[in-house]
């Protein structure tokens, strides 16, 4: 009989405790961030879309070599002796003409390994993270602006024997 009344009492008491807790939370400010209108302040080292400042790029290809997913595609050719000498913003002479510098962001795994070996610091991770597109091809970013002066001979595939 005693436990019966004790149970009733503890039932009522714990219900009141629960109601007090939820009532307190009713007035605590919500933690929700209203995303498209309100945006998060990303941390300084946030890693999102890659960006290459092509004027500074010397076309060394270290980024392409270190990339674990092979998302960077670089093609270069030697600049001719009679062309005017150009330098990157830190003074490194640019000996190669980079005519293809493509980054396929669908392959990128955001490890940022490519940004560390870059000798002129031209390849960086930006904080831009809203770049969804309707076509997968639009996720390949072309940074190169130069055209090749001496196009490489197109490799001929062995013609199927008749």
């Amino acid at each position: 009989m005693r436990t019966y009344f004790k149970d009733i009492f503890s039932g009522v008491a714990t219900t009141l405790i629960a109601m007090r807790i939820t009532f307190r939370h009713l007035f605590t400010p919500a933690v929700t961030v209203q995303y498209p209108t309100v945006k998060w302040n990303l941390p300084d080292r946030a890693r999102a879309r890659l960006f290459n400042k092509i004027e500074d790029c010397i076309g060394c290809g270290q980024c392409a070599r270190v990339c674990p997913t092979d998302c960077i595609d670089i093609e270069t050719e030697k600049r001719a002796k009679d062309e005017p000498e150009i330098f990157a913003s830190d003074g490194t002479p640019i000996k190669l003409r980079t005519y293809v510098f493509d980054i396929d962001m669908t392959k990128c795994c955001y490890c940022a390994l490519c940004t560390f070996p870059c000798p002129t610091y031209c390849l960086v991770m930006t904080k831009e993270y809203e770049y969804s597109v309707y076509d997968k091809k639009d996720h390949v970013y072309h940074f190169a602006v130069d055209k090749p002066l001496y196009p490489k001979p197109v490799k001929e595939h062995a013609a199927p024997k008749a």
């Binding site: 009733i8 219900t15 109601m19 939370h25 919500a30 929700t32």
Partner: protein
């Protein structure tokens, strides 16, 4: 309805209409008014529930639709449900399946007939009002078990069975708790019960004597069980039974179940307001403050407060087990309400 009849009588040439029509039109008008009230109320309560639950969990809830705090979210959901495909499972019993949501809704809707919104704002002041309410409220059990059976789905059937067992058991202590007040008033009419509480806070039955004070809480807890709200939501236990008796329903039929659920919440809170919290009477006595707020608004506010407490409880408490549910009903609520009836009877006889 009396006031609607008088309003209609002021229309010129209204008396020229045949007798049958003059009886029928006020009924139709009051039905339409209640139907609109229930529909708007249902949508408002769904929105309120979502907002309150969100804020209790430190979220925001719907924020976009309609501009201000997502007030039109339920409207958008309603339109979505209207446009959805109406699926009737191949193995279901089509007639019962179609009838069940209507049955549940009629049960909720019919209870509004005797809810006294104000001195003159009541559709029909039946002299057996409380009895009628108890009878009509249990009509929804028929619809629920009908839907559970007709769906031909084990989860739905489980939900329906649990709901029936729960509602039928909790009706007894709920009715006994209401009887404590009926004994004191000496009338089953809702308006008589309200007028007996006129004159301010201290005249309300919840504060009249200790027996009715406890009876209010007994009734409130039992009413939670009757409308399948947490902590008594085992018929809809979403973690065990998918969705309970309305698992197979979609589109507008589901919306009817939903609307009936929220209308039922308002009805049971309205009964508690009428019987224990003074219905449409003013909160403070006339000697202290001028009686400015109109009755229907006061009634709605008091009822909405109780609905808020229902929502509040839902997001505070975990679900009971089936055996705990039955323990609470038969071994706690029932004996206590029996004692209350005895005590009130004693008071009514010896201490007038």
């Amino acid at each position: 309805m009396e006031s609607i009849r008088q309003l209609l009588a002021s229309i010129p040439n209204y008396g020229a209409l045949p007798e049958l029509l003059r009886d029928f039109i006020p009924m139709l008008v009051s039905c339409v008014i209640i139907l609109l009230y229930v529909a708007v109320l249902g949508m408002f309560l769904v929105w309120l529930e979502r907002k309150v639950s969100a804020h209790m969990q430190d979220r925001l809830g719907p924020m976009y639709v309609g501009g201000w705090h997502g007030w039109a979210q339920s409207l958008a959901d309603g339109i979505k449900l209207l446009l959805k495909e109406d699926i009737i499972p191949a193995a279901a019993d089509p007639l019962l399946f179609k009838l069940a949501p209507i049955m549940v809704f009629v049960g909720a809707f019919a209870a509004f007939v005797v809810l006294p919104f104000g001195m003159a704002s009541i559709v029909a002041d039946l002299n057996i009002g409380v009895l009628y309410l108890l009878a009509v409220a249990s009509l929804s059990v028929v619809g629920i078990i009908m839907g559970g059976w007709a769906s031909n789905n084990k989860y739905a059937l489980y939900g329906g069975m649990r709901s029936a067992a729960q509602i039928i058991s909790y009706e007894i202590p709920a009715a006994l708790a209401l009887m404590t007040v009926v004994v004191q008033v000496g009338s089953l009419s809702m308006q008589d019960i309200v007028t007996a509480q006129q004159g301010g806070l201290h005249k309300w039955f919840i504060f009249r004597n200790p027996f009715t004070f406890v009876a209010f809480f007994i009734y409130f807890v039992c009413s939670l069980a009757e409308v399948n709200r947490t902590p008594f939501d085992i018929p809809e236990a979403e973690s065990e039974l998918v969705a309970g008796y309305h698992t197979e329903y979609s589109g507008m039929r589901f919306a009817f179940f939903m609307l009936a659920e929220y209308a039922n919440m308002f009805v049971v809170a309205g009964i508690a307001t009428t019987v224990f919290l003074g219905g449409w009477t003013q909160i403070l006595p006339a000697a202290l403050v001028p009686q400015l707020v109109p009755g229907p608004i006061l009634f709605s506010l008091k009822t909405l407060f109780l609905v808020f407490v229902q929502i509040w409880l839902r997001w505070s408490l975990p679900r009971l087990r089936v055996d705990q549910l039955m323990y609470l009903c038969w071994k706690v609520m029932l004996p206590v309400s029996m004692v209350l009836i005895l005590g009130v009877g004693f008071l009514a006889v010896y201490w007038k």
